[in-house]
């Protein structure tokens, strides 16, 4: 569960989706958790090339992430490392993988963000993590009292 997978169907052909993900102009339209603006987007889309994106959230906080492209196979697949800029807030390097498959509706996008936590966790047996966490989550939601908020 230190990885996150999202599958989406998009009514656009894979090459258009791929460009939206990899060009600064495309990134400026969607990157970030809310409607806050993208302040900077740089991409060098080739294996070993780097990207850097800075965005502002609606609450005024600014965040930046950067990394290196590991696999570039237009328009089917993109893999890149991911790291938040920000000193003590930095939880290390993680991996983003995006697969684009042509389907009747357009594109099926499979997105995975993995290695989200430390090396020890990564090497561990993560099977069963999901179920255990889900159950515990139910418990903790049940007993939810105070509110925790981290940037």
């Amino acid at each position: 569960m230190t990885s996150l997978t999202i599958v989406r169907k998009i009514a656009a052909r894979p090459s258009i989706v791929f460009d939206a993900i990899t060009t600064p102009e495309g990134i400026a339209h969607w990157w970030g958790p809310d409607a806050g603006p993208v302040l900077l987007a740089e991409t060098d889309v080739r294996v070993g090339g780097r990207y850097r994106v800075r965005f502002r959230m609606l609450d005024g906080t600014e965040h930046e992430s950067s990394g290196e492209y590991r696999e570039v196979a237009k328009p089917e697949r993109l893999a890149m490392t991911w790291r938040w800029a920000g000193g003590a807030e930095d939880p290390g390097e993680s991996l983003v993988e995006i697969d684009l498959r042509a389907v009747a509706e357009g594109t099926e996008l499979s997105f995975t963000h993995s290695r989200l936590h430390d090396e020890e966790t990564r090497r561990g047996h993560l099977d069963g993590w999901n179920g255990a966490l889900d159950k515990l989550e139910r418990y903790f939601n049940k007993s939810k009292g105070d509110h925790h908020d981290h940037p």
Binding site: M1, T2, L4, I6, R8, I10, A11, A12, R13, I16, V17, D19, A20, I21, G26, H29, W30, W31, G32, P33, D34, A35, G87, A88, E89, P91, G106, T107, L109, F111, H113, L116, H117, D118, E120, T121, G124, H125, L126, G128, W129, A132, L133, K135, L136, E137, R138, Y139, F140, S143, K144, H148, H150
Partner: protein, 117 residues
């Protein structure tokens, strides 16, 4: 923030082990179980169970209390809640981003079709 990530490290490290996850899942159903009760379903000896409880205790995931000769174990919700919240933030980041990515690409597709039907 450094402390926050140290706590997350401890939480995730504690959760890597299947026996420790099983102990937590059991406590979810039966909060306040005794150490002896917790040890019963496992094929390992009591001292080994005690070691797992030490790891969970050090990570702040459980609290032990002694009444007479019985040690009872309770879940401590805060570190798990923070771990769940931490993962949720990534989920929010990407679901929000991918929603707008889809809208943008679909708009591009519509324009491409209009230009070249």
């Amino acid at each position: 923030m450094a402390n926050y990530h140290e706590q997350l490290d401890r939480t995730f490290a504690a959760l890597v082990d299947p026996t420790r996850r099983a102990i937590l899942a059991r406590l979810e159903r039966e909060d306040g179980a005794s150490v002896t009760e917790l040890a019963r379903p496992f094929a390992i000896k009591l001292p080994a169970v005690m070691k797992h409880l030490d790891v969970l205790g050090d990570a702040g995931l459980i609290r032990r209390s002694k009444v007479g000769r019985t040690v009872t174990v309770r879940l401590a919700p805060d570190p798990m809640r923070e771990a769940v919240e931490w993962l949720r933030r990534y989920e929010r980041f990407w679901t929000g981003s991918l929603d707008r990515l889809a809208a943008y690409a679909e708009d591009k597709e519509a324009k491409a079709r209009k230009d070249d039907p």
